[in-house]
Amino acid sequence: MTIDFSKFPDEHGHFGPYGGIFAPETLMAALEQLSQEYQSVKNDPQFLSEISDDLRDYVGRPTPLYYAKRWSESLGGAKIYLKREDLNHTGAHKVNNTIGQALLAKRLGKKRIIAETGAGQHGVASATVAARLGLECVVYMGADDVVRQAPNVARMKMLGATVVAVESGSRTLKDALNEAMRDWVTNVDDTFYIIGTVAGPHPYPAMVRDFQAVIGLEAREQILEKEGKLPDALIACVGGGSNAIGLFHKFLPDESVQIYGVEPAGYGLETGKHAAPLCCGKPGVLHGNRTYLMQDEHGQILGTHSISAGLDYPGVGPEHAWLKDIGRVNYVAITDEEALQGFRDLTRFEGIIPALESSHAIAYATKLAPTMRKDQTIIVNLSGRGDKDMNTIAQIEGFKF
């Protein structure tokens, strides 16, 4: 393979046939302005050092790469390392991106930020940076997600954000995105839209990837230091795909590294009740970009199901669509039930309570590791911590607070 991955997307935001700018006219000028601003600062040493200072002193980076010895040995195969994004301030990888976008918002002189959120982690990370910079913050969240991720809703409110429960459509992440877009169209002059994943119109997929690429950059150095060689496999969960692209990106040119993106299979791919567009969908256009989508034969977007709100989305970042087509990344799926078992395993073997999103990656590792030799290594992106999921887990396991 001789692809120069750093050359993608092209200047119009295309990853092969995917990505692009399929946005309403009112947003085109704002997107162009954002593209230009981002181009001008992305290699600016002052901007980069501002970000790296914030990531170190405020977020707590670098996050550790932890060898999960007891869990690995129980599986009897490869050594599994966890990239501890759950130890970031606010509890997930999402803050890597909001730190960067908030600095851009400040540079563009915007007084108000908006965000969409599924699990609430991106909403919390946005409310956090807004509080720190003294910006007004409005977070759109599907009404169903407001219920199942109640602890994060409380955190956002405490941080001073307004949380809008979106009642339209399927009342989950995709509808929150629609509503955030409508807000942005209306308030485009003074508002910066912090998209939380590697989707949306250009430049978001490229920009969010660049902000999240710190995950793989650190992990690559850390594994070389600990093992003296590259890992044999990477595993990350994929909803929109920002934690996955963050881990994968710096490893894409390393041909010996097998890469696995794990989609939520919900009740099972065969039931149709899942959120796995790369495994079961086909290409189309939604939320500003062309990518794989869960859709019917007439191009209507289908309702999705996943136990984890953060993965419950019918689309996926366009770079993942492209990486699937060119065969660089293997996209697989894990059911709700398997993810729950992953959640229990990591909690009991390692004393680490993972987010239900990350539990999908954990569960795939339990399948992959035993098929590998003991001298081989896997890095799993532990993208977030499970505190926010206590309501869901309590309900399933039958205990009360």
Binding site: F22, P24, M28, T186, Q300
Partner: protein, 272 residues
């Protein structure tokens, strides 16, 4: 000349402004649409904008979102919308029809197949909200080859530098979005729209239709003095919503009355 170009040219020659009402196809139920289209013409529509339901109408306000949801409860698809147009054309070969919607249903059908089908049933133009000129490679030639006009949106935030592409790639008319917002929102700022239309006329040779936020006769009266066409949507669709569970006659009465208000206001402006 296309049917739209002929219509706008003859209206212009007569000193008249076009009235273009919007309804969502299949709202409140599939068997209402063709009848409502004929009613709109009877009450003074010069062209009809027919909304293609899409599950995620991200540029639409609550009124049209709910119209789309009503249509999708009946699983109204792009195929069905084309069938309504075919049925409408059995009795009306004169009134231009513009399909307005989002890209994904067209992508799912395929650009070429869609353009051929739309043209064969008597569609005149297509306006796709999330298809800016920059991404229209493939889409534009398919429509052009099928003889369909390509309507693009221009908004208050569109920079002068982008207008040339709209002028070159669009045809039929340009749709000026008269406010920053979703369909059906806020009050219009007449002074702002006036300044904006003058700005557009420097770069755009195509006729200019004005839409978004035109709620009543007074707003239509103001806009008719600025544009070549006035587009009204949410004001009509909210009446369909209010009468969604009534019989067709009741819906027609409500929509017809509002259309009469718009038509009279535009005629009044044209007589100035």
């Amino acid at each position: 000349m296309s049917r739209i170009q002929q219509k706008l040219a003859s209206l212009k020659a007569a000193g008249k402004t076009a009235l273009i009402p919007y309804i969502t196809a299949g709202d409140p139920r599939p068997n209402a649409t063709v009848a409502l289209m004929h009613l709109l013409v009877e009450k003074g529509a010069d062209m009809i904008e027919l909304g293609v339901p899409f599950s995620d109408p991200m540029a639409d306000g609550p009124v049209i979102q709910k119209a789309v949801e009503r249509a999708l409860e009946h699983n109204v698809s792009l195929d069905d919308v084309l069938e309504y147009v075919r049925a409408f054309r059995e009795k009306d070969s004169n009134t231009p029809i513009i399909l307005m919607g989002y890209l994904n249903p067209i992508e799912a059908m395929g650009y070429e197949a869609f353009a051929a089908a739309a043209s064969s049933v008597g569609v005149d133009a297509v306006l796709t909200v999330d298809m800016p000129p920059e991404e229209s490679v493939g889409y534009l030639p398919a429509l052009r080859n099928a003889g369909l006009d390509r309507v693009f949106l221009v908004s208050p935030t569109t920079p002068q530098s982008r207008l040339a592409a709209v002028n070159e790639k669009g045809s039929g008319f340009v749709y000026y979005v008269s406010l920053k917002g979703v369909t059906g929102s806020k009050e219009l700022d007449v002074a702002d729209v006036t300044a904006q239309i003058n700005r557009l006329k420097d770069k755009i040779n195509l006729p200019i239709g004005i839409g978004f936020g035109i709620r009543d006769g007074e707003a239509a009266f103001q806009m008719a003095q600025l544009g070549d066409a006035v587009i009204v949507g949410s004001a009509l669709v909210s009446l369909i919503e209010a009468n969604a569970h009534q019989d067709l006659y009741t819906i027609e009465l409500a929509v017809g009355e509002k259309m009469t208000e718009f038509r009279a206001a535009i005629d009044r402006a044209d007589a100035l």
